[in-house]
Symmetry: C2
Subunit: 132 residues, 2 copies
């Protein structure tokens, strides 16, 4: 009952040259997921985002935020004070996406145990092969 075929407007993410394909490429990043989820509740500063996303390096954080800003999902506001203060917030488009990405995140958290087991089984099978 939905979008297994081509969308009504002729956009088709399966086609390499379709704009929607490049959108999918942009979304296919764990830092994009997490950044959008992190900003879902409201505006945050660079440092707050960095602390929230364990393991992200300043470079990757900046890079991710620049991409999200470029694509109109995030708004960046600079306060000309010292020390510098920069805040990020989702645009309406970003809010819209955040709902979906949060669902993915919830799904990942809910099904993590199952997938962990599946991986364990897979590597057990692999070891068995090595023995036989």
């Amino acid at each position: 009952m939905d979008s297994d075929d081509v969308s009504p407007l002729g956009y088709d993410a399966f086609r390499r040259t379709c704009p929607s394909h490049t959108v999918l490429e942009m979304l296919a990043s764990k830092w994009v997921y997490l950044t959008v989820c992190a900003l879902r509740r409201g505006r945050l500063r660079n440092g707050e985002l960095a602390r929230k996303m364990e393991g992200i390096t300043p470079k990757m954080l900046t890079q991710t935020l620049r991409v999200l800003e470029r694509d109109g999902l995030v708004r960046r506001e600079v306060f000309p004070v010292i020390p510098p203060r920069v805040e990020y917030e989702l645009t309406e488009l970003g809010q819209n996406l955040a709902g979906l990405l949060s669902q993915i995140r919830s799904w990942a958290e809910e099904h993590a145990p199952e997938i962990k087991e599946a991986r364990a089984r897979a590597s057990a099978d692999h070891d068995e092969m090595a023995v036989s």
Copy 2:
């Protein structure tokens, strides 16, 4: 009304060592998106998948399918005939995920024009900077 904080089971995708974080990493791939979406309507053969996903190389297709199989999202069935015949289908877990990923795909297709415009604006601004 949902998962902005830690999930009830203590899983938190923002933590690098959390299993759900690695699940998110696995999902963060355009080929994973597209493969799961492609299999949504039913089982397909390797060649059918390759033809459906424009631009995927045999290596990436195999790699993606192996990951999905390892994580219990896809079932692989080999028919010992010549020429070889291999079919892939979503498991229940995979079906479950496919609903969400299809929504992302629809979102990408619906909002592609907006994002295209945002990108155009961004590069126009960039050019302006270069001139001034």
